[in-house]
């Protein structure tokens, strides 16, 4: 084959942008990066203080021209918001957050300025109990079709027959492994923890997130992911303290480490797993056969939303399967909506990272509200991190 004249030329602008975007995708994690920096909170506060956010009076009747959404990094197709603006004239300000706890802290403090946000399943009952989210007015969401939703994933949005949140997507928490560095096949959380102390010494990452890190340590002994039992938590703590000196990092920002080859194995969420595998095929994503976490992220509207009409309008727009399918292709997490699944390409539906086999899903548990708010687990995590 003759050499192309392009060989040896400097990088093209397209390729540069492509690589930059890939780097960007890798450099930000879903739950933690903005959490530790507080940037998410800062943008929300700045927007309010500078008067960029509309006042409730301004948006009383019309959609206004601006609204704010709180969500996760790498979670949307940016084009979605551009298209929404072109259709409605409403500019969407995106605030990215690090953790559900952080979102809860911000909403609890009041005046978040968001007209829509993306909470995970187990937080919704807490939000309802605290009275900080709206019972959704389904008349304004004609694009949503509950009969097309997989009830297994979406039940937690409905409390006592009232819908408080509608689903964005679901996913799992599994193990991402660099199979070039750790060739031994892995299928369980027991192997994950044992490998962390052997071949994976100094190369393993666990989340800076009590729900998954404690939950998956509990799975080592076959206990429930959500256990609040003193003796079971004590065993999990013992394991975590034993593993701690062997870890590469305690961080939910695991994409950079995995991409750079510094970390060989990490706890990982579906969408990050799909993104890592897409760019680096030797990174495999597996589920522990003992079980672990399954999750659904929802959309909800805060009670004190400054621009509810726009919040509803955007939510309805996002529920349009034609819009949602682009979101799923960008973010990598599977859909709960049969109408969206019908539109997704076959290779996405056949990707076992996104749609794992039924027998692997069976033992997985949804995180429970009590698990998230339990002070005992929070203290355990702090003891683990400070050890």
């Amino acid at each position: 084959m003759p050499k192309s004249y392009r060989d040896g030329l400097p990088i093209s602008p397209e390729k540069f942008v492509d690589q930059l975007m890939r780097l960007k995708r890798g450099s930000i994690s879903r739950r933690d990066f903005l959490g530790i920096t507080g940037l998410g909170v800062a943008t929300a506060v700045m927007a309010r203080e500078l008067g960029i956010m509309p006042t409730p009076a301004f948006a009383a009747e019309s959609l206004g021209d601006r609204m704010s959404i709180a969500t996760w990094p790498n979670y949307h197709d940016p084009q979605t918001f551009e298209n929404f603006k072109a259709e409605t004239g409403v500019a969407v300000e995106v605030n990215v957050f690090g953790s559900n706890e952080e979102m809860l802290a911000k909403l609890q403090a009041g005046g978040s300025g968001w007209s829509l946000f993306v909470p995970t399943n187990y937080t919704i009952s807490t939000y309802k109990k605290l009275g900080i989210i709206e019972a959704l007015d389904m008349a304004k969401l004609d694009n949503f079709d509950g009969s097309q939703e997989d009830a297994r994933f979406t039940a937690e949005g409905t409390i006592d027959g009232t819908i408080y949140a509608v689903p964005k997507n679901w996913g799992t928490t599994g193990i991402a492994i660099n199979t070039k560095k750790l060739a031994k096949p892995m299928t369980s959380w027991k192997e994950f923890w044992d490998t962390a102390m052997a071949e994976g010494d100094g190369r393993t990452m666990v989340h800076d997130y009590q729900l998954t890190t404690i939950g998956n340590a509990l799975k080592y002994y076959g206990y429930s992911f959500n256990s609040l039992k003193q003796d079971e938590l004590a065993k999990a703590e013992e394991l975590l303290l034993k593993v701690k000196p062997h870890l590469f990092a305690v961080s939910s920002d695991y994409q950079p480490g995995m991409r750079a080859g510094d970390a060989w194995m990490t706890m990982c969420w579906t969408n990050d797993g799909a993104q890592l595998y897409r760019d680096i095929p030797e990174i495999a994503y597996v589920l522990g056969k003992e079980g672990g976490e399954i999750w659904t992220d929802f959309y909800a509207i805060p009670k004190d939303a400054p621009n509810k009409p726009a919040g509803y309008a955007l939510l309805n727009y996002l529920m349009n399967p034609k819009v949602a399918v682009k979101e799923h292709l960008a973010n990598g997490a599977p859909s709960t909506d049969a109408r969206v699944n019908a539109l997704l390409p076959k290779e996405v539906l056949d990707n076992p990272i996104l749609y794992p086999a039924a027998d692997l899903l069976k033992p997985l548990e949804f995180g429970a509200a009590a698990t998230l708010t339990d002070p005992g687990r929070a203290e355990l995590m702090a003891r683990f991190k400070s050890a």
Binding site: L104, A105, M205, A249, V250, P256, A260, A378, S386
Partner: protein, 287 residues
Amino acid sequence: MRGSLVHKNLLTALLLAPATLWLVVFLVLPFVAIAIFSVGERAPEGGYQAALTFAQYANLPARATAFWNTMVLAPIGALACLLVAYPVAYYLALRAPQRWRLILLALIVIPFWTSLLMRTYAWMYILGGRGIPALLAYVGIEDLRLINTPGAVLLGIVYGYLPLMILPIYVSLERLDRRLLEASADLGAAPLSTFIGVTLRLSLPGVMTGFSLVMILLLGEYLIPTLLGGGKVFFIGNALVDLFLQSRNWPFGSAIAITLVLVSVVVLIAANRISTRLSGARRVDLI
């Protein structure tokens, strides 16, 4: 005459008002709020619930490791900064050609205009597998890990806080009366003893200022240990972030914050005392 005195007092009060207001709104009020939080209780769903208890303060030993790490690593970090900063400040103030001095100073200050977060993130890539280790792999050093080590944290601290250490030392060296150096040489002192007996001694106020400045900021540091240390070493700053944003235990977080402020004040007073004593009768300039 009386009239003009009243006039003068009124003018002083007016001129002081903005600064006083600033202090009250942004320093005193938040501090009072935090103090009130610290004697409260954690609400069942997290946050704050009014109460009057000192249970949070009694619980401080639960974060003993974080306090210990911070109390050990802050002075070590400040010392490492000092060791790098002194020669730089010395060169700048006493050796660098006059016309280069301003440019060199600017080169030290300019990186400060970028967020520490961005600069620390850059170090993550430099120390990460695609940075220095990838270069070293060419010469046969494989699988070297630099990131998420104590050395990486120390490097991040020195890099991030260096300008804060250089500037006060530079200022005190710059004011140094050159005739004292000549006098010392004329009286037969070797260069080294001139340096120790005159230069170093007279620059001590600057050293102490830089040291306490860096030290106090390090007491609240959380970004560098998180990003370059892999979140494995818990500082007080990390404990605070966790308590406010993860477990949402505001009262305990407030109690720790208050304790941290008190510790910082003690450090500042101690540094001032030492500085005054070391520099003898010389007045201490805390910039």
